[in-house]
């Protein structure tokens, strides 16, 4: 390794000839600096096994980088899940769009929407969710604890005035599918990836004339364990 580094150093060192000054003056200053510091760096690498420490440092940098990125979703104090921590489990609650008296809500809620949220836990059984659909842009979105949106349904796709959703974990899915098929109700069955998560209902206010109606309909939405 040292021999190879020494050979490389010999090759990149500027030639010490009478025309050396004229050669250097004709090169761009950038490449001159690169060559100068490259040779110094390579000399330093070859000395005292410094190259091994460079490899160790680069490897550790990568490890710290990866660990930081992967650990952030599990450790942040203000994730969506943490911000809704005081909501009751398996009950619908209205989300405040506006922050009053310093009270924080979820960030970037649309001011011309109204929101309701249900923190769910289906470990003890399926969760039923019922809501009136005020318009085609109404949506129900389901998130896991890390805030990943694994399910979304808009009113335009639902084509009904009333939303009936059942959230079920993988364990209870087949049993619930049989029940839903037998009852022939217009029920949307959603399999959740984990027992805990958040449902967000979004209802746009298309004009100020509909504001009260939208708020009333959203207030009547509910979620409960079956």
């Amino acid at each position: 390794m040292k021999q190879n580094l020494s050979e490389l150093l010999y090759k990149i060192q500027p030639a010490k000839t009478e025309s050396h000054q004229s050669v250097r003056s004709s090169e761009s200053s950038y490449w001159y600096i690169v060559r100068k510091y490259s040779s110094k760096f390579l000399k330093w690498l070859a000395k005292d096994d410094n190259w091994k420490w460079v490899i160790v440092t680069v490897t550790l940098t990568g490890i710290f980088h990866i660990l930081t990125v992967l650990s952030v979703p599990y450790s942040v104090p203000k994730s969506g899940w943490a911000r809704l921590n005081d909501l009751p489990i398996n009950q619908m609650a209205q989300l405040k769009t506006f922050s009053k008296d310093g009270e924080k809500t979820l960030p970037r809620l649309a001011p011309d929407f109204r929101y309701a949220a249900c923190r769910y836990n289906v470990s003890t059984g399926p969760l039923a969710l019922e809501a009136d659909v005020p318009n085609n842009l109404f949506s129900i979105a389901a998130y896991d604890r890390l805030g990943q949106n694994f399910y979304v349904l808009f009113g335009s796709a639902l084509q009904r005035a009333k939303l009936n959703v059942i959230l079920v974990n993988t364990k209870d899915l087949s049993e619930m599918q049989a029940i839903v098929t037998e009852s022939a109700d217009d029920v949307v069955l959603v399999e959740v990836p984990e027992n805990e998560g958040i449902i967000i209902l979004r209802a746009p206010i298309l004009s100020s004339a509909y504001e009260n109606r939208v708020e009333t309909l959203l207030t009547s939405a509910r979620c409960y364990t079956k």
Binding site: V76, Y143, S207
Partner: protein
């Protein structure tokens, strides 16, 4: 002793660079996770269960719960077209054209993502309440003082951000090229400060 010193330097450097670079990429994004179109930025895997780790970390940290790009696009601008930071004490003009999507709107927030309170109770414009000019384009003014037409009041002097939401509902007008993005997104120019 020399070995311990080298180990300490190596660990310290790795910690600073490793954690620092991770933090930068989570906050500011990179070509792996974010796309930029002038002042508008979008995390193209926002909310997606298959999102890359940087996007997942970014949105976990912000606390926002976006709908995935299969149904909605989110574009955020924290600077104007000349890369000057948006601040609530300056006046800005947002100019754009009607977007051919089921729903879209433009709203303004402070840097923490909270709506900026104002007495006029104007916080956003959407496709059904925005006033279009004869040529089909629109202007929205952001200003602490009243302006005619489409105007969103701002207050204070803190940094702010503009969010453009597009609910495309899996429509056929899927954005598939950078040119389409640039034609779609409004311009943001600073009028006065």
């Amino acid at each position: 002793m020399k070995l311990l010193f080298r180990l300490f330097v190596s660990l310290s450097l790795a910690l600073v660079v490793g954690v620092g670079s991770a933090w930068y990429m989570i906050n500011s994004g990179s070509a792996l996770s974010k796309r930029s179109f002038g002042p508008w930025k979008t995390w193209f895997s926002a909310g997606d269960p298959q999102a890359d780790p940087y996007t997942r970390a970014h949105f976990s940290r912000s606390g926002a719960l976006p709908i995935t790009a299969t149904s909605a696009y989110y574009f955020t601008a924290k600077t104007d077209d000349n890369n000057n930071k948006l601040t609530a004490d300056c006046e800005y003009l947002i100019t754009g054209s009607a977007l051919n999507y089921p729903w879209w709107h433009i709203s303004v927030y402070d840097i923490d993502g909270q709506i900026i309170a104002n007495q006029a109770q104007r916080y956003a414009y959407h496709k059904d309440n925005i006033f279009f000019k004869e040529d089909g384009t629109f202007d929205i003014r952001l200003s602490p003082t009243a302006r005619p037409g489409n105007w969103i009041p701002t207050s204070g002097s803190e940094a702010m951000q503009i969010v453009l939401r597009i609910f495309h509902g899996k429509s056929a007008n899927y954005i598939d090229s950078e040119e389409n993005y640039l034609n779609l997104l409004p311009t943001i120019s600073r009028i006065d400060c």
